[in-house]
Symmetry: C2
Subunit: 338 residues, 2 copies
């Protein structure tokens, strides 16, 4: 057992890295949502001046990191590494965004858990002595996701009540070893969990068991309880997934008193026609960078557990009758001292 | 500057992790190739008993890790983490393979550089104090790749002379902190490099500049020269990419005296109709686990530089007229003492 390992899945960081900068970018529907005014860059034109949705997504991820670097007072050349991923086939959203930076790059695939995965790995690598500055970024785009996962927009497919709406959003953070800002204190690494859900329009139900497994592991490994957190934030389970997690955790005698889900925060559930809420890598990234980090900085919360969830399916795996595996990485964030 | 950082892109591991186990799986064409007899598991039936090529790929990756664990004398429960990725959309080859293990999981996307990325990150995390045991795995399958990237097999499309043949292969390694075996001493993290190649049937040319950039960075950062390595092994550039790297490095006054490419080793270039050679995540993984690691153990080489290369394109990015970004991560391996 290494000094940093707690229990089975959790690591306690010995030099908790600090989030020194963060940036957020959102599209038109995000602008109309409850967090609309908090984005650094927001555009009612979801093309962001690009000629395809995929290129728009790369542009968004690039802008998010630009803002994060600006807040951190850094240039890209000072970054020791960038960790990023997205939902597009072969993660081209991130690869093409990274191309412009010329920064040592780790490509990740964690579906909608990517903001958690990139933040966790970046913090662990800095804590492990691998450089001074790391950036973590992710993005999703409603229009690129719809045509890849479901149907072309022009098809006008009907969305079932359990569907969620992929966020057109990107978020990025810059991690450093010193200075003021929220700190990454613990990481609970998720396992792939599959309880046999096969409905690709019900991602919340597919991912909820992974969120519960990671939360249970986190509490068992750290000896903490849900009461120790001012906020526990999963993402992006949406309305149904949030209900399932609340219910399952209560049955495990771990009721979550202050529990929210990123998928419930990005849009107005009534009035924006998003059914069960928001989804996509950009959802948790946007909530982190527009709400969670500013709230920690402002003293609204002292300690939060950020738990992005991912559904590790593909259209091909669904067509072949496979069920939907989920994953959830938990990252404990604490308000840093000035 | 942290103690482990050398120059701009390289990290020197302070407790060089040891490759304690490795496993390799190959298909029918690989069996007929020059490395055919060295695979742990080889099957003339490329379905591996599964009902789809994608499920066959997951099964292969699972078997490779099974063999690696067996050689390391470990059970999956003892692993602190598994790092894996593949070429399939949303990396389902790895996600479904990981589902069965119940091991904390980091999903990666590095295209054909994934064996380098997973090995590098696994070694860095162990060196950083994050556990005792990490596994790294990847896979590719000719039949799942052809229908995803190019055309269905039944179409019988003509392959241009610069094309490479995606390996039906998987490889896995188990890393630990102690004991005998080859050690990971240095990692040079690649940047995304794009010199404007747009021909998706000429991946070698697209990835060669990334390989050169990483090799140059490695030598500049470490103060080593190509002469310091008994073998430099890129992968999977194939015949044309190997020529380009040889030429470009010589022009940089860094000629590579003992240089090979994984894409040239897996198949018989004459007689197996593979044109420029092998490609796919499984190519570098198979050469590592069938040839490089056994050679290090047998004393054939003392110090090698393993540099898998990835082309970070997607069919969509090509259709949209984008050029092909490449990446290459370099991992220095040294023969360990008994």
């Amino acid at each position: 057992m290494s000094a940093k390992k707690l229990g089975k899945q959790t690591f306690a960081l010995t030099r908790p890295p600090v989030i020194r900068g963060f940036g957020s970018v959102g599209g038109g529907k995000e602008q109309e949502g409850p967090l609309g005014e908090r984005f650094d860059v927001i555009s009612p034109d979801d093309t962001f001046g690009q000629e395809s949705w995929e290129k728009a997504e790369s542009a968004m991820q690039h802008m998010a990191l630009e803002k994060a670097l600006e807040r951190a007072g850094l240039t890209a050349e000072e970054l020791d590494m960038l960790l990023a991923g997205d939902l597009l086939n072969q993660c081209v959203g991130s690869a093409f965004a990274a191309r412009a930076w010329g920064v040592p790059f780790w490509g990740l695939y964690g579906a909608c858990s990517t903001m958690g995965e990139s933040l966790a790995l970046g913090a662990m690598l800095l804590d492990g002595g691998f450089g001074q500055w790391a950036a973590a970024a992710t993005s999703s785009h409603f229009c690129s996701a719809e045509r890849q996962y479901r149907t072309p927009l022009e098809y006008g497919g009907q969305r079932p009540p359990t569907a969620q709406w992929t966020a057109t959003a990107a978020g990025a953070v810059v991690l450093g070893l010193r200075g003021p800002g929220p700190r990454v204190t613990h990481v609970t690494v998720g396992k792939v969990v599959d309880k046999g859900i096969t409905d690709a329009n019900n991602m919340g139900a597919a991912m909820a068991p992974a969120a519960c497994a990671t939360l249970e592991a986190h509490f068992a490994d750290t000896g903490r309880t849900p009461e120790d957190y001012d906020l526990i934030l999963t993402g992006d389970l949406g309305k149904l997934g949030h209900e399932i997690v609340s219910d399952l955790m209560a049955r495990q005698s771990l009721p979550l008193p202050r529990y929210q889900d990123c998928g419930l925060l990005l849009f107005h559930l009534e009035g924006q026609d998003v059914h069960c809420g928001a989804s996509g890598c950009g959802c948790a990234a946007a909530v982190l960078t527009t709400t969670l980090l500013p709230g920690l900085l402002a003293g609204k919360w002292k300690r939060v557990l950020f738990c992005p969830t991912g559904a590790l399916l593909s259209p091909t795996s669904c067509q072949q009758g496979e069920s939907i595996p989920g994953i959830c990485h938990a990252v404990a964030l604490e308000r840093g001292e000035g």
